[in-house]
Symmetry: C2
């Protein structure tokens, strides 16, 4: 293995993503020094207990002192404040990146909080429904795409080092401008979460079907949506507020398509339903061929093979 792209990596925010970055650095870049910080004292205490970083510092500026790379792993609405809180500890060459799910907003917040400082945002498209300092694991980024959105004046060597960092953690890197990122993710991530949160809420509020029935018969499809709808509420509130326009636009398209299927059901138009349902299989095949999902039926859930 070649030399680590960064000698000292500092992580601000020790939840699922921050914890996974640290675990992955420990596993794949063992020569790199790691420091970490979280605004929540309880999270810092837990992070120390489980040795999430070489050092868990008591302030953000202390955590980033001497770091070559800072990875901001806080909700996108908190990026600006997190950057300001650590600014006094940054040296002028320290590269700052993040893992936020929207990029135009993060770019603007970090530009304002750290004027003139090198910032190259990134978004590893990876996660689980769990959160907190115990949720992270070293292989989260394996075989997942990480989208990097370098500003036009970014230093080419720093872009290359950041790409090498994500690749060392197992990710495949793609470069994009932040506006395009935000439209792509609005459809592949933000809209699916919004819809999952909606349907789980709808099912909880019914009077004629009890919550216990919803739970018992969830294997008919509903349970799939509950996984996504168990994601961190603060993170997702911030995503929708920060990528508002793209989400609203994708939602508009979705609503139009749903209205069309609703009409087909109302008019008993079986051919229209069949035609729609027959063309969605190809995308699943593509996802499996690209190694972006488990090919086994039902995601390989354990309850069919005796362990669930």
């Amino acid at each position: 293995m070649s030399a680590a792209p960064f000698r000292h990596v500092a992580v601000i925010g020790l939840g699922l993503l921050g914890g996974s970055v640290l675990r992955a650095v420990q596993q794949y870049l063992p020569d790199s020094v790691t420091t970490g910080y979280d605004a929540d004292a309880g999270v810092r205490a837990r992070a120390r207990e489980i040795a999430l970083a070489g050092t868990v510092a008591d302030s953000a500026s202390e955590a980033v002192t001497g770091a070559d790379l800072v990875v901001l792993c806080v909700p996108v609405g908190a990026m600006g404040a997190a950057a300001k809180a650590m600014a006094s500890g940054l040296s002028p060459q320290t590269l700052v990146t993040d893992v936020g799910s929207s990029k135009a907003s993060v770019m603007a917040q970090l530009g304002e909080a750290l004027p003139g400082h090198p910032v190259i945002p990134s978004h590893p498209v990876a996660g689980t429904e769990q959160s907190g300092p115990d949720a992270g694991f070293a292989t989260l980024f394996r075989n997942r795409w990480c989208i990097v959105t370098p500003p036009e004046d970014a230093d080419a060597a720093q872009v290359a080092a950041l790409n090498a960092f994500w690749e060392a953690l197992g990710a495949r890197v793609e470069t994009m401008d932040p506006e395009h990122h935000d439209r792509v993710l609005a459809v592949t991530s933000h809209l699916p979460h919004l819809i999952a949160y909606t349907i789980v809420g709808t099912a909880s509020d019914l009077e004629e079907v009890t919550q216990s029935e919803v739970i018992k018969y969830s294997a008919g499809g509903f349970r799939d949506f509950t996984r996504i709808a168990a994601s961190d509420p603060t993170m997702w509130r911030d995503v929708f507020l920060s990528n508002r326009e793209a989400v609203l636009e994708m939602l508009q398209r979705f609503t139009e398509d749903l209205t069309e299927l609703q009409k087909a059901i109302r008019k008993r138009d079986g051919d229209a339903l069949f035609d729609h349902f027959a063309r969605t299989r190809a995308i699943r095949r593509g996802i499996i061929e690209m190694g972006q999902d488990d090919a086994r039926p039902d995601f390989g859930r354990s309850d069919h093979n005796g362990s669930g």
Copy 2:
């Protein structure tokens, strides 16, 4: 183990469900004779190759001759025709059941096709996104609920035998009237499928985001929906046509809730978003506590542990 509830089980329709019933009978009720039939000659040939039933007959009436239990495993729109096709082979005591996802419509179709004949519909709430004679497996019903909807004049001994049959295959049995079943399943199964089919279609039709981008970045949440949207189109067309009223009603509730979240995003109402997102975790916990989903993060997908 006590005696098999039925000496001879015939299955009409040799797809995922029919194949799983046969595999489960072979595994858990090995003393029972099995016969099978599918209207598609290619499926019958494949079923013979893989020994899906003791005998794969060349007509429906031949398959059910001498059977104590017939399980209709065809799309719900084809139940009436399948029942008529086998009627000449039925003896008066043969119990007829099915595995259809809507029950009021199936009850009406079978009542018309087999007047005066003992019919007790059932619905094992289990499945995968795969279909065809190779898709079935013996453990599909393990730990899943099977809803039985006996008519008021059903023979109590036959109801008990049918319940024992599903329990022998690993299912837990619940009794319900068909109308309530159809409302419960509209929310736990039919609406989730409709929404998944819609969003996968929406994502395929965008101009500004390519299909290849949708596939690459699907791990952000979208890929979960593609599993369900890869389900059998004929089966699902029939579900929506046969459970039209309940689906349209649940869809109406969902649309109202989605409009409310849309408004919250438009008005930048972070508190409303947070409150909604914070209350949907409890349902996921309930599902996991009830053993109705894999408790591991991300359904325990293999791509985090090195095999994907």
